[in-house]
């Protein structure tokens, strides 16, 4: 008596699933990105779907390694993937992403030449990544703790802030931060011992290691910290949208800059939809709304940045040529380097106990 019911149920499920699959193949764009990072904003998806008829399906990753694994293990599933430019090389070498025909992306012409011409995104005259946004890993301060904002990275070592300093729990970021503090090139660290010594002396200052924007914002909200490493886009969000007393400081010694770009995986089923989606993501209309409603890093599209108000942080501070001179863009890191950085970072964390 149960069998026919079960069969009927299974058949029904099968029919529904195949119907869904049919609808899916019509025009779906599968996007792989960080969660809460622009591409999954409901208003943006609605606008894109209305304009192009493509349906957006979002999937997320929690680390670059996870993103690469998802591409490796699901060939043909994703149409668009957001890759930090420092990882583009690895994705291309593993044949996970394909060259992009930029003539199909009208907004590509407005991308600032230094970003579009980044050697990390193009190889043999072919474009493997369309620059989307860039930002800094710099310092941010709790404005309640400072009369005047500090200008030097050495403020992190100031005894006055003992036990009220935070740094992100990320080996690569920590080591590159140490490189800047010791006046080295973040992509070619010659004196690892100096970095280690500098970070060792920072450890007694640390309150905790943060891992998400929420950690940082909560600690500022409850006035537990004075200063720490932070991302430029996040500091902007904390100030404008959570109304927290947070200000970004780009130290005179410099800061780590990163560039995020969109790529199209090998075997993508809807390349036209992917191109349309990337075009929309770098469009000024999307960017201005993203900055105003949510807070965002700096667009790689010059017209998008120009569409912001004069005094907008992403235009005034981040666009300052003086800042551009100080920052260092992250270059690719080998697996061996990453493991060495982690070993160093873990050692520092263990010795502090």
């Amino acid at each position: 008596m149960r069998m026919p019911k079960l069969t009927a149920f299974l058949t029904a499920t099968a029919v529904v699933t195949s119907a869904l699959t049919l609808a899916a193949t019509a025009a779906e764009v599968h996007v792989l990105n960080w969660k809460g990072y622009g591409a999954d904003e409901p208003w943006a998806i609605a606008a894109f779907e209305k304009a192009t008829g493509n349906k957006v399906v979002n999937d997320f990753f929690n680390s670059e390694q996870e993103m690469l694994t998802k591409l490796r293990t699901n060939p043909g599933l994703y149409d668009v993937v957001m890759i930090n430019a420092a990882f583009n090389d690895q994705a291309m070498a593993e044949k996970l992403i394909q060259p992009i025909d930029v003539s199909k992306i009208p907004n590509y012409a407005d991308i600032s030449p230094d970003k579009a011409g980044s050697p990390m995104l193009a190889r043999d005259g072919k474009v493997y990544g369309v620059p989307w946004v860039w930002g800094l890993t710099a310092l941010a301060i709790n404005e309640k703790a400072f009369e005047t904002p500090p200008t030097s990275i050495t403020e992190m070592w100031n005894e006055a802030h003992k036990g009220r300093v935070v740094i992100r729990d990320d080996a690569v970021e920590a080591v590159q931060f140490g490189a800047i503090a010791t006046g080295q090139n973040i992509n070619d660290i010659k004196h690892m011992e100096a970095v280690k010594a500098k970070l060792t002396s920072l450890m007694p200052q640390i309150k905790t290691f943060w891992s998400s924007e929420n950690d940082w914002n909560q600690m500022v909200a409850s006035n537990q910290i004075d200063i720490g490493t932070y991302w430029s886009g996040s500091a902007d969000r904390a100030k404008t949208h959570f109304k927290l007393p947070v200000a970004l400081v780009i130290p005179q010694e410099g800061a780590v800059a990163w560039l995020d770009a969109f790529s199209i995986p090998v075997g993508a089923k809807n390349v036209a939809g992917a191109e349309a989606f990337i075009n929309y993501m770098i469009d000024p209309s999307f960017y201005v709304e993203w900055v105003t409603k949510v807070g965002a890093p700096v667009s790689a599209n010059t017209k998008a940045v120009a569409a912001l108000p004069e005094d907008a942080f992403n235009r005034k501070v981040m666009g300052d040529p003086d800042v551009a001179k100080r920052i260092q863009f992250q270059a690719p890191i080998t697996d061996a380097q990453r493991e060495a950085y982690l070993a160093l970072w873990q050692e520092l964390k263990v010795n502090v106990k």
Partner: protein
């Protein structure tokens, strides 16, 4: 008699097979196979993804012995396990005794519910609640300063005590439950007999109640010690800069650098160490039990 028991149990096994099958099938599919895969990974140089070349190696295991870092962390984690277990006994055993021997009826049910309650809430929620209580200017700090005539500054957040508090809170129900079961099984007439023979309260506890409830204490301790040694979530969130333990390092290998082989090797070393400790302790515990 012995033969009878043997044939009885054999036919019992046959009839029990359909009952056992789902559980064992589930264990095979959900636990044994992934665990075997992890054993396999732990001997590899590289995960075999996207046609990457890999080979068998012992390097992941030798890394543990060649770097003092992992030893230090393992010892720290074992100490954490012991301390948490100890606090769970101190807090859980008296509670279990009261539940089993003192309270009856409705009040027992109510207290029981309070003990079980943490089980019903998500682990992360519990930890973040502790974060609100323990920090400077948090609930504990504010409440104490409101009551006490002098000013004290309580900032337990991001410290070793905070990790202990969070873990004890998460695991104390295990101790209460296991001890409750054995304490409840103690025949009240034994206690009355001891009393009538003139034993003091302390003697009763030492000579009658603790020995008889030892199986529950041992089971609770094992249930708590093993997961606490490998814990990573509580230390990471509550421990701040002192929150690096063996478990958090394993998590880093899986999540941050994607070095599954090393992460798997470290996990199996932990498993081995824990098994050795339990094996060494078992004669002592058996005698005690």
């Amino acid at each position: 008699m012995a033969g009878q028991v043997a044939t009885g149990s054999r036919s019992g096994l046959r009839s029990a097979l359909p009952l056992l099958l789902p559980a064992y099938l589930w264990l095979t599919v959900a636990i044994f196979l992934p665990l075997s895969a992890m054993v396999f990974f732990s001997f590899m140089t590289e995960l075999p993804l996207a046609g990457k070349a890999w080979a068998f190696t012992l390097a992941n295991y030798t890394t543990f012995f060649s770097q003092g870092l992992y030893w230090t962390l393992l010892l720290a984690s074992l100490r954490l396990g012991l301390e948490v277990t100890l606090w769970c006994v101190v807090i859980g055993y008296p509670a279990a005794y009261v539940l089993a021997k003192v309270l009856k009826g409705r009040s027992r049910e109510a207290i029981f519910l309070l003990v079980i309650l943490p089980f019903w809430s998500n682990g992360l929620v519990r930890i973040f609640s502790w974060a609100m209580v323990l920090r400077e200017g948090g609930i504990l700090d504010t409440a104490l300063n409101a009551v006490l005539p002098f000013k004290i500054n309580i900032d337990l957040m991001y410290s070793y005590p905070a990790v202990i508090i969070g873990l004890v809170h998460s695991y104390v129900p295990y101790m209460v439950l296991t001890c409750y079961l054995t304490l409840q099984a103690i025949d009240d007439s034994l206690i009355e007999a001891g009393r009538s023979l003139g034993a003091s309260r302390l003697q009763m506890l030492r000579r009658v109640i603790i020995p008889l409830s030892m199986p529950g204490l041992v089971a609770g301790a094992a249930l708590i010690f093993v997961p606490v040694v490998g814990s990573f979530m509580e230390p990471r969130i509550l421990g701040g800069r002192t929150g690096t333990f063996y478990g958090t390092v394993i998590e880093d290998q899986f999540v941050a650098v994607f070095n599954w082989p090393l992460g798997a090797a470290l996990s199996f070393i932990l498993l081995a160490v824990v098994l050795v400790i339990l094996a060494l302790a078992s004669p002592v515990l058996k005698r005690a039990a």
